[in-house]
Structure formats: C-alpha cells, structure tokens
Symmetry: none
Subunit: 252 residues, 2 copies
DNA sequence: ACGATACATGCAGAAACGTGCAAGAACAGG
DNA sequence: CCTGTTCTTGCACGTTTCTGCATGTATCGT
C-alpha cells in the first residue's frame, strides 16, 4: 500500500462515510495507527480534512449531510456549494451572491462557523439566520424579482462601503469567448460591484452553466481568482478555460 | 462515535428540534449524561447554545421562538394582519417592520395589489417576492439575529433616504404607562427611524402584547396614528389607551 | 419543606496523542 | 556495486484528553 494510495483511500472514506476513525482504518488497512494519524495530520494541514480527537471529519461537516439534502437542489450545485463553503475561513468575511447555488452554499456552511457574510439577497440573509455564529450584513436597495436580489444605484452604493476576503459569485453562463454572463444588466453591474470589494472572487458554476452564454457580461476572465465547477475537467470547454489561465476548482 | 461528531450532532439536533434534553440524548446515543452535559457546557462556552436546567436551548431563545412562531401564526395575528393589509392603498408606499405579524401582513396582501413595500427584514422581502406587482425596497445593514431585521447605523442611514405614506410597526409590548416597547435598543431606534419616514404609523399589536412592556421604549403615544389589535375594546388597558387619545382599529 | 432530579467536581482507567528513535526501503551519486 | 542520504514506518514512552462513576451540592416540582 503506497502512501499516496492510502491518502486517497482516506479522502474517499471521508467523503463516503462522513468521518474517519483512526483506529478502524488502521485495523482495516493493516497499518499502525501512527501512520493513519500522520496522514490525517498532513491532510488537515492541506485543509482537506478536519482533525478531531479519534479521527477526522470533513472540512465542512455539511459534506456529510449534503447526501441527505441532495434531493432539494441538484447534485451538481451541492457539490459546487460544498467546495465553495470550504473556501470560507474561520473569522473571514465573504460576499455571497444570490441564487440557488449560493443558497446551497449557506446550507453547506458548518453550523458553528464564525464568519461574516455580506449579501444583497434577502433569501440568503433569511437562510443565514439559522447559523448562530455568522454575522450577516445585508446590502439594501431595490429588489429585482426575477433573481430576488437588491440591485440598482442604492445597492451599488451600499456595496462600496464593505470589503471582504472572498466573493462567491453566481452566473448563468460560462463561455470561453463570451466570458461570465448573466441575463440582466443591473444584475451584472451589481455582481461587478460586489466582486470589486473582495480580495478574491470565485465563480460558482455548476455543470449546466458551462459552455452557455447570456446577454450581459459580468467580468472578464482575469477578474476572477477561480471557477468552482462539477463539470468534467477533461471537457473541452474546461480545458480551454484552463489553457486561458483560469484556475479550476473541481467539485467532483 | 467521535467526540467532535457528537458535538455536531448536538448542534444539528438543537437547530432541528429547537431544544436538547440531556437525558434523552444520552439514552439515544448510548453515552452517559455526564458526557452530554460536558459537551453542552463546552458549546455554551463557545456561545453555540444556551445552557438550561435539563438540557440546552439555541443561543438566542428568540431564534427558536421565531422559527416556531412563523410556522403557525396565531389567529389574533392573522386578524391584525388582515386589517393592516387593508390600510395599504393601490399605488401607495408602505414601510413594513419585521416580525411574524408583519409577515402575516404580507400574506394578507391581495395578490394583484400594486404598491411599494419598504422593509428592513430579509424575511419579509423574501416573502414579497411572490407578489408580482409589489415593488420591494430593501433597507440594508447589520442583521440582528433574534429578530431577523437590519439594524444599526448603516440601516438607520439607509432609512433616511426613503419616504412612505404608511408605516406598519411591530412591537413586543403595549402598556398604558411604558408605552410601545421592544426588547432591544437597536431595534427600538430602528423602528423610530422607520416611523419617522412615514406620514402615518400604525402599530400591529395582537392581544398577547397588550398590557405588557419590554425594556426599550420605541415611541410615545403621540408618535403613532393608531393601534391595530384584536384585543377586546372593553378591556381596561384598551379603554385607558382610548382615553389617552390613541386611535384603536379593532381586528375582531 | 421535602424528595427527586440535575448539576459540578474530583478521580481513575482507558484511549488517543506527540515525539524521539531505530530499522528498513527508495534513491542518487560515485 | 557500494555508500550515504532521505523518507517512511512501526514501536516505545511520557503526556494529554476523554469518559464514566462517585460524591456532595444546587435546583426544580410538589
């Protein structure tokens, strides 16, 4: 059993079972608990798992319960959301866009995580009420019905007064030529304003968005730090994006 | 069962059930009550739950209350909401406070009514999405968990930029001497700021609020146009208010 | 006021942990 | 092919953490 092989096994086990018990794995693989502990320590160091007494848990405990929730939202969006939730650091500040994928991100956030979420979506804000340690800052403005987010001059102005480490942006189209697009000009402007207030911007792009384009450009490729998607990395569109220097965070 | 896993379980249980009974959980998980108590003590120490005799409750009792209250709006609130919804005129602009009664007002609004609603509650805004002809303006700011509304300096500032015909205000206490009161100073200030931006202010006061007082004064009696309540008009408290010149809109 | 229940504390055994160490494998260079 | 180096792995040891039990105390309901 190679060390790397063992690591993969641990990650797979973690994804499947939702937890790892060091003792059990050691017995199952016929190796010492020390080795398992060492592996888990390394994985935790890379942020791939959360070390706890007796074993390890997924970085976001919500990965386990996404199995139970996947009936609610499409599986792809949940995978993307889980990865996105993993980007949110303890004590950090994140700007969260509206949309169903962003809502899935809220559900994927660990219950006890302490952080600040800035959003222009009343739906997202309402969902966050259930997260006891999340500080919520709501960006007001005229609420656009079709996407249920605050847009317009007042909202853009309000957005100028916030700053964040991370911006998680939803879009409706991800296309090699057209770039990141959405269906409404006001929304596109709002997304730009939000993205500009964060150090890093990651785009939530479940597979059905890949290769499609909508009417209004949101951001150019170099305006984002990366793309989170569950689409096959070997897919031509994705390969093309990778070639263009876009960082791809797989949500396999 | 890992210790950390148990903690997650407790938090999840707390979110789902709204309470934890140490004895029951101990039996369910097959561990000693001591361990459960220790976990609860730790969680309480981190501010993730509120320790009570026999188990634990969510950090802010209001959160759980809010969840249970919003599902079943008591008959009194529905009556009050119906009367309040009747005050909203076609094409008019109304400032709608947060809270369960205000939420009931949203549901009581005629489906096709065209008007503008200004609110600092993400919950109210989200509920209004379903009303196709209602224009929504969201007041942003820091969201206070226990009442799920935007408060604080940013919210008050944002409120200065709107004007309305009508303000429908929720309170937690209506008392002849103490006046209109609520449990949080920030909330009280916010309610004042909202009320100041409307020509008329009506208070939503279902019967259980009548005769009670909370810690912080919202408005004096002459700051409001009237009180909407389902309480018996012959009740001493109501008669006293009438004598003080407060207009009573019965929601019998 | 009293019994019942829940609680905090101290304690001891067990389990998990980190660290240092040595044996062995993989590897590079001579 | 040999040797020195590096990395991995398992073991031993002392330490920390967890858990259940026992004790005495506090709190609740009657």
């Amino acid at each position: 059993m190679l060390a790397a092989e063992r690591r993969d096994h641990l990650l797979e086990l973690l994804a499947r079972e939702g937890k790892i018990v060091a003792k059990d794995v050691a017995a199952e693989l016929g190796i010492s608990e020390d080795s398992v502990r060492r592996d888990l320590r390394d994985l935790a160091g890379e942020g791939l798992c959360q070390r706890v007494y007796g074993g390890a848990l997924p970085v976001s405990p919500a990965v386990a319960d996404y199995r139970s929730r996947r009936s609610v939202a499409p599986e792809g969006k949940l995978k993307v959301a889980a990865v996105a939730a993993g980007l949110v650091r303890l004590g950090g500040t994140v700007i969260l866009d509206g949309g169903t994928t962003a809502l899935a991100v809220v559900h994927a956030l660990p219950q006890g995580l302490a952080c600040t979420v800035i959003t222009h979506s009343p739906t997202i804000a309402a969902a966050l009420i259930d997260h006891p340690r999340v500080e919520i800052f709501l960006i007001g403005g005229r609420v656009f019905k079709h996407s249920a987010v605050a847009c317009g001059a007042a909202a853009v102005e309000a957005a100028q007064n916030v700053s964040a480490d991370l911006c998680l942006l939803g879009v409706t189209g991800v296309h090699p030529d057209a770039g990141l697009t959405t269906g409404d000009a006001e929304e596109a402007a709002m997304k730009r304003a939000l993205s500009a207030r964060a150090a890093d911007t990651y785009v939530l792009a479940s597979s059905e968005k890949i290769g499609t384009a909508s009417r209004f450009r949101v951001l150019p490729w170099d305006g984002i730090s990366g793309l989170i998607t569950d689409a096959d990395p070997r897919q031509p569109v994705i390969e093309q994006l990778t070639a263009q220097g876009v960082e791809i965070l797989p949500a396999g």
